[in-house]
Symmetry: D2
Subunit: 157 residues, 4 copies
DNA sequence: TTTT
DNA sequence: TTTT
């Protein structure tokens, strides 16, 4: 039985382009570095900033999407869990690493649905890039269908 | 494309036993009423309590588990999203309803893994009920296997 | 004693400009309408979208900031709690309203630190608008000071 | 300006009694070790458990409450943020530590409002300990006062 | 009523 | 190493 909740919610900017590797089985594993900055007043009344750099990992399908769409500087929402790892380095020393294992990701700001052109969104890209064409007629929030209309596993939003 | 995050996290107690219905397709739909109480000081310095009653719905497999394990009074963690519904009553009046559509649930407190005995945990149960055995030898967080050991879709915790 | 957790996390776009009112005591109360859209496949395999419109309220200092900086279309992060209200309309009918009471807000995307020029970011604004000038030398995450260096209420980030 | 969200939500059990220290300024700093366990199926279809041990710190008033009420084994809800620290050990080696800086805490299960009797809830306590009195007559959610009734900083729940 |  |  699972016991406990281990949930992390981050909104931050990428410090560099994502790195994607593949397992023997062919699963994508994408790693990014995500910055979150907070501010507080110190005892002298001055604003003090502090930035945390989160090591975030995306696996499988999400790893492929992250590798394709994320780029240095992008702002992103990440939901996942904390994982503490302990391993022995080549020098025989024990080392610790903390990672955020993402299970949801969403790009923020503009240009969200657009696949990234290459390292760091190089701007030499031709102007003829096709429009994202993702128009959508927003569904009005109407009444739910009566229960009998549901099919199996037909879970509403 | 999904746009936006709509996330609700609740920890509260059930106001009554869950109600489970089934769709034509056989999917379980369990509804519970969950109370969360908060406190604040009013302008006279007195503590003021306020309780929100959340209407929480569980679908499918989670609906079956909720119907089987939850009981009035139990404390529970729920994660889900808000859904606002609008429908027309039998009197022709428009009505609004807000629901939390759960996608994760975890029972809290003791006796967590124990199926519920019946309505409201009937206390005629023999006193000899074995202890919940909540002890747990936490697994030590050891090093992750090297990446090449992963098989497809073998996503680590 | 507070009992329970009632937490909402939203990332969405504003459907219109915020409305700010003031209480007799002079406290700002700003209301916005926030859209979150999700997608799922229906039983025919087609993508179905659904948009929830959240009524979000900001009070006090946060209400002033929200009224000044938010504008129609902006993407925003909101954290708060759900509040269900029941009141009697002028027709004697009971009515229900669900609101998100915000206790944290953060603007997303570009132009974050810039005060809004007026209704819906009117673009007739002169090009000479001064630069936001919010540069910052990111603090390197260094070691925490030894505990004895802390002063009272000097809570680290 | 703060940029980013760094939020952690944990529900877990304490691995041992909390440790409280005080800064020169007299601020309480309480540290606990919190376990969260998750389960997944491995490629052979067997359930694999994994436990993360979170190092959680409470400061100030919250640190005093945590030191007084928490005990080994207790189940607790914690909300806070991740902080990565890097410091140089006495051997000159760089070391890393990840901590959760709590800004909200709530005890779960029964006996929530009861101060802890000593290390690990010693069971020599007399059997006549009064019932936790966990009953609660939930306040009915009534209509909010009209806005003009609010005084300054009189923020509703 | 928003956004891509 | 990001962002405004």
């Amino acid at each position: 039985m699972a016991r406990g909740i281990n949930k992390v919610i981050l909104v931050g900017n990428l410090g560099n382009d994502p790195e994607t590797k593949y397992t023997q089985g062919g699963m994508a594993v994408t790693t990014v570095s995500l910055a979150t900055t907070s501010v507080r007043k110190d005892r002298d009344g001055n604003n003090q900033e502090r930035t945390e750099w989160h090591r975030v990992k995306f696996f499988g399908k999400l790893g492929e999407i992250a590798g394709e769409y994320l780029r240095k500087g992008r702002q992103v929402y990440v939901e996942g869990s904390i994982r503490y790892d302990k391993f022995t380095g080549q020098d025989g020393q024990e080392r610790y690493m903390t990672e955020i294992i993402a299970d949801e990701m969403q790009m923020l700001g503009s240009g969200e649905g657009r696949p990234a052109g290459g390292p760091s969104e190089r701007s030499e890209r031709p102007a003829s890039r096709p429009a994202p064409a993702q128009r959508r007629e927003p569904t009005s929030s109407s009444a739910p269908p009566p229960m009998d209309d549901f099919a199996d596993d037909d879970i509403p939003f």
